[in-house]
């Protein structure tokens, strides 16, 4: 619990790490003592004594602090539960993570100011982790080549500005008509009244399904009795009535009353397109949410009770601690990935974490993966995905696959969606849930469009009802329906975006390499995951944060230190490159060079 707070050196040895924090006190003490009896005293001295000292030091410090809640809020949200101190006293500091905290601690009746709930009181003081502090600094003093050349350059935000011009041009041409229709069909009554909270069906279709789109071109000699039959994907045949718009996906067809018919053409949903048509999605399995953040939270609410846990490979996106844990009371168990494996997920590590959780008495309800990964930018290969599914089957748990970067790949490596893996394996479909969104792949985080795609009908039903708490605005949906059904635009966007991401990535990696900074090979996302452990003053989180501080304050570049992503090895940093222009790269390199003094 307090380890990161005091910058304890993160041990590269996983076993020691686990012994260090202590989860169930009894467990931790008894096991090494058996070691003594069996004559393995060295192990005991090597592990239990430092740990015990550290443990009591925490206790001492805690007792003697004035404000126990003061500094740890942001750090503790990022705590690895497996290394939490056994002191139950510490638990009360967790900001809103444990749902059933004792209320007696707060708000004595009729005295003092009126209090807020225990589950959220901690979060009020949060926000001082390097991740959030860096973002704040950029906001206050953003770099601009002309207006503010001494400002901070943003490399800490997973945002893609590289292809925004394409979206902008499209909107300038089409936005108004897209929202309001051409004055005849939709107008205000298509956006103002209540719409289904889980999203307009047309929207789901353009996002996911194969689409048969039919438009009226001039006069038509169709009568209401005319019917045509179309074969979709060579297998499905569907009759189309006059005046209706049909959506076709592999196993269903849906009808919408939306204008007249003359021309038809096939098109594939955006999700399928970014996944290069390897998968087809069924629009009726989609729930729309106001961004991926609520999508992840809704799945957490649906799949786990307060006090249950998800396994999440580290390093992971710093926001998960908020999205998964805050209001749900669900816990995250870290599954450490290491540089030795190029930060790829290993099933063995997954299994170890699962067993640790079990020992702590935590019920594991699922695994949550990000593919492509944020912050590393690597992809999970087909083999790993199959093993993951086997693992989930064996433990009878869920898989949440966060694929919001599926369309933001830039290498030649193949992206494989979890949906493709379960396509053939009907029996396990019910445990697989996919999160998607348009924030990353269409560069529109401001539009708040997230997607839950699930094969589980019960989750679908619950998520649909829950979507009322985070619904997407109808005018925005209308606008995106138009945009995504413009196949020419979508095709151009996807290709151009791929090329631009690739170009920036190559330049950034080359620049870093020149300074002796190596990075993990990335094929997806806007990230370069770089090893700067050779430049930190001590091989610890402290050394890492010190370097981060120098980069921010001396070099004026904001990057994300690995500790914010719970990376188990110190010295790794995330560089986001899609907010830069090519002209910025030499400036960034110069600034980093200024800060780096190799440690011998």
């Amino acid at each position: 619990m307090t380890q990161t707070r005091y910058y304890r050196t993160r041990s590269p040895e996983p076993e020691k790490e686990k012994t260090g924090g202590g989860g169930g006190t009894a467990m931790r003490v008894i096991v090494p003592l058996q070691g003594v009896v069996q004559g393995r005293g060295g192990l005991v001295l090597g592990s239990i004594i430092p740990c015990a000292l550290f443990y009591f030091l925490q206790f001492y410090l805690k007792r003697n602090r004035d404000d126990p809640d003061d500094k740890n809020e942001s750090n503790s949200t990022g705590q690895n539960p497996t290394t939490r101190s056994p002191s139950s006293e510490h638990l009360t500091e967790l900001p809103g993570l444990t749902r059933s905290l004792s209320r007696a601690l707060l708000s004595p009746r009729n005295s003092g100011p009126v209090s807020i709930s225990a589950r959220v009181s901690g979060i009020v003081k949060g926000g001082d982790s390097p991740y959030y502090m860096g973002l704040k600094r950029v906001k206050e003093d953003p770099y601009d080549e002309l207006d503010n050349p001494n400002g901070v350059i943003q490399l800490g935000l997973a945002e893609n500005k590289l292809s925004l011009d394409l979206v902008k041009d499209w909107l300038a041409e089409n936005a108004r008509e897209a929202i309001l229709g051409n004055g005849k069909e939709l107008s205000i009554s298509g956006i103002a009244p209540y719409q289904p909270f889980d999203g307009l069906m047309e929207f789901k279709v353009v996002t996911s399904g194969c689409l048969v789109r039919i438009e009226l071109l001039g006069d038509s000699d169709w009568t209401s009795n005319n019917k045509i039959t179309l074969g979709a994907r060579g297998c499905l045949r569907v009759a189309i009535d006059h005046g209706q718009w049909f959506m076709v996906s592999d196993n269903n067809a849906m009808v919408l009353n939306l204008g007249l018919i003359v021309e038809y053409r096939y098109s594939t949903g955006f999700m399928s397109q970014v996944m290069e048509n390897a998968v087809s999605f069924n629009p009726s399995q989609i729930v729309l949410t106001a961004g991926a953040t609520p999508a992840i939270e809704i799945l957490s609410f649906c799949l786990a009770d307060a006090g249950n846990a998800f396994l999440v490979p580290t390093p992971y996106y710093p926001g998960f601690d908020r999205d998964v844990k805050w209001r749900t009371g669900v816990e995250i168990i870290h599954v450490p990935c290491r540089s030795a494996d190029n930060f790829h997920l290993s099933i063995a590590a997954l299994d170890r974490s699962f067993n640790q959780a079990k020992k702590r008495g935590l019920k594991v309800r699922g695994v949550m993966i990000s593919n492509p990964s944020n912050p590393v930018g690597n992809l999970l290969n087909r083999e790993t995905l199959y093993s993951l599914l086997d693992f989930a089957r064996e433990k009878n748990i869920h898989i949440i696959s966060n694929e919001i970067l599926a369309g933001s790949t830039h290498g030649n490596e193949e992206f494989v969606s979890m949906a493709e893996i379960v396509d053939q394996e009907d029996t396990d479909r019910k445990r697989v849930h996919i999160v998607y969104g348009l924030s990353k792949d269409l560069s529109l985080p401001g539009f708040r469009v997230g997607v839950i795609y699930t094969f589980n009908e019960d989750v679908l039903a619950a998520a649909r009802k829950l979507s009322r708490f985070s619904a997407t605005s109808a005018p925005t949906q209308r606008l995106l329906i138009s945009m995504l059904s413009d196949t020419k635009f979508v095709r151009t966007f996807i290709t151009t975006n791929w090329e631009r991401l690739q170009r920036m990535y190559v330049q950034l990696v080359a620049g870093l390499e020149k300074m002796g900074i190596k990075s993990i090979k990335s094929s997806g996302g806007f990230y370069c995951w770089a090893d700067m452990s050779g430049f930190i003053s001590s091989y610890s989180e402290k050394g890492e944060v010190e370097l981060w501080d120098k980069l921010l304050n001396i070099g004026k570049v904001n990057v994300t230190p690995g500790s914010c992503c719970h990376c188990i090895e110190p010295g790794w940093f995330r560089f986001c490159f899609a907010t830069l222009t090519e002209k910025d790269i030499p400036v960034v390199m110069e600034r980093i060079q200024k800060v780096l003094k190799p440690v011998n």
Partner: protein, 438 residues
């Protein structure tokens, strides 16, 4: 050899399988009946008329006219500045221009008698989310909120489902026109106490949904005093404030605080939305206005789960900051709602039905208790079924609003054309005639 061992089903959470969402109640069943057979002026004249949906369509033409004349709102234009910021904008503070426009719109609705600071406005995707978010912030699982009955049926879901918080009703009845009294509040508080529930706040809707009436100044004073005495929060849901028929008849809790020099303000939180007053539920725009810094900060962070699209914020910022539009809209909308209300009240009176005297909202609170066989919930629901299936009107039974007196119904009148409303009134008239004859 191969023995098939059936895989145990992968389990879901209590939230996912619970029935706390309450969507199996008559309130929602009526909607289903409507969805299956919706009335249409030309294509389905014998269909069910939806009078269970509090939606405001009486001023759509004003919105349409604005959007036609102001293309800058719905598009960014060629090379217009601000697109970049807009598309990427996901700051949970919300667009400053939009918060300013919201604050000033809220002031306009209150006739300038209360001031709102844009920095205290927290944006959410609808009032539903705003109410849930406040509940998360003010109460822990197992705690209780006091709510005067009858109340909006959706509260059972919005305030309880994911938060694990309980609702304890403050019973109000027709003897004093359903006014909230100190005695009733105290009784509810004691009842929560006897169940060992810790009361964290009181939530009122002003103007009231489903009563369609505003809360009087003296009652508001008493409610605030009660909250102070018990050291609990007061949430004032004012989403119908702009739908009061006359501006002077609505008094916001903000005005009470103003007269008290903002003493005790830190326990007061106002919920507002554009769904009702502006008739834009499809836009999903709600807001929390809190006088408590801690609540503002926390709510803002939590609003990450329920942000409003920047495109929509931009559109509405343009629309609401146009004073000419907003002033005319508020005035015209009030007049039209008032006219509708008179129309339905007169129509019902002609049929021999009395309603609670209302002055706000998109509905009236209709008294059919003389028609009940017995003064029970069962009789009320039996009558409701007859009205749904035979008279073909979907109205909301008082019991779904936890009304303690059977025989009351909420009837919405702003989600249809005047012609449709006339047909609905005709149907009721016929039904009443028939009953008299039998």
């Amino acid at each position: 050899m191969a023995i098939e061992i059936e895989q145990p089903r992968v389990g879901l959470s209590k939230v996912a399988v619970s029935k706390t969402h309450g969507e199996d109640s008559p309130y929602f069943a009526g909607w289903k009946a409507y969805d299956e057979n919706p009335y249409h002026e030309t294509s389905n004249q014998s269909g069910v008329i939806q009078m269970g949906l509090a939606e405001n369509q009486v001023s759509f033409d004003l919105l349409e006219k604005y959007l036609e004349e102001h293309s800058e709102a719905s598009s960014w234009g060629k090379g217009a500045p601000g697109f970049r910021e807009n598309a990427l904008f996901q700051d949970y503070h919300g667009l400053k221009s939009f918060r300013q426009a919201m604050a000033s719109f809220m002031e306009q609705i209150r006739g300038g008698r209360a001031k709102f600071d844009p920095d205290r406005i927290v944006l959410t995707a609808g009032a539903t989310a705003a109410n849930e978010l406040l509940t998360f912030i003010l109460a822990d699982p197992g705690d209780a909120l006091l709510i005067p009955t009858p109340y909006y049926p959706g509260f059972d879901r919005d305030l309880r489902w994911r938060t694990g918080v309980n609702i304890v009703p403050i019973h109000c009845d027709s003897s004093n026109n359903f006014q909230i009294t100190p005695e009733a509040m105290e009784a509810a508080y004691q009842s929560a106490d006897s169940m060992n529930l810790k009361v964290r706040g009181i939530l009122i809707t002003n103007p009231s949904n489903p009563l369609g009436a505003t809360i009087q100044r003296s009652a508001l004073e008493q409610i605030l005093d009660f909250a102070v005495n018990k050291n609990i929060h007061l949430v004032s849901d004012e989403i119908y404030s702009g739908s009061t028929f006359s501006s002077s008849e609505f008094i916001s809790i903000a005005e009470i605080l103003e007269t008290r020099g903002y003493k005790d303000a830190e326990r007061v939180h106002i919920v507002y939305s554009l769904s009702k007053d502006l008739g834009l539920p499809g836009f999903r725009v709600g807001t929390i206005y809190s006088y408590n810094d801690q609540v503002v900060t926390t709510a803002r962070r939590m609003s990450s789960f329920t942000l409003i699209s920047s495109q929509t914020q931009h559109l509405l910022a343009c629309m609401l900051s146009n004073k000419e539009f907003s002033e005319n809209y508020i005035k015209t909308n009030r007049e039209r709602l008032s006219k509708r209300y008179d129309m339905i009240i007169k129509g019902l009176k002609k049929a021999g039905i009395e309603c609670l005297k209302g002055n706000a909202g998109l509905f009236c609170w209709m008294n059919l208790s003389p028609l009940l066989e017995k003064p029970t919930r069962e009789s009320e629901l039996a009558l409701w079924k007859v009205i749904l299936n035979e008279v073909k009107l979907n109205i909301s039974p008082g019991s779904s609003c936890h009304c303690s007196e059977p025989g009351w119904f909420r009837v919405c009148f702003a989600n249809m054309s005047e012609q449709t409303l006339e047909i609905a009134l005709e149907r009721i008239h016929k039904f009443m005639e028939q009953r008299k004859r039998n």
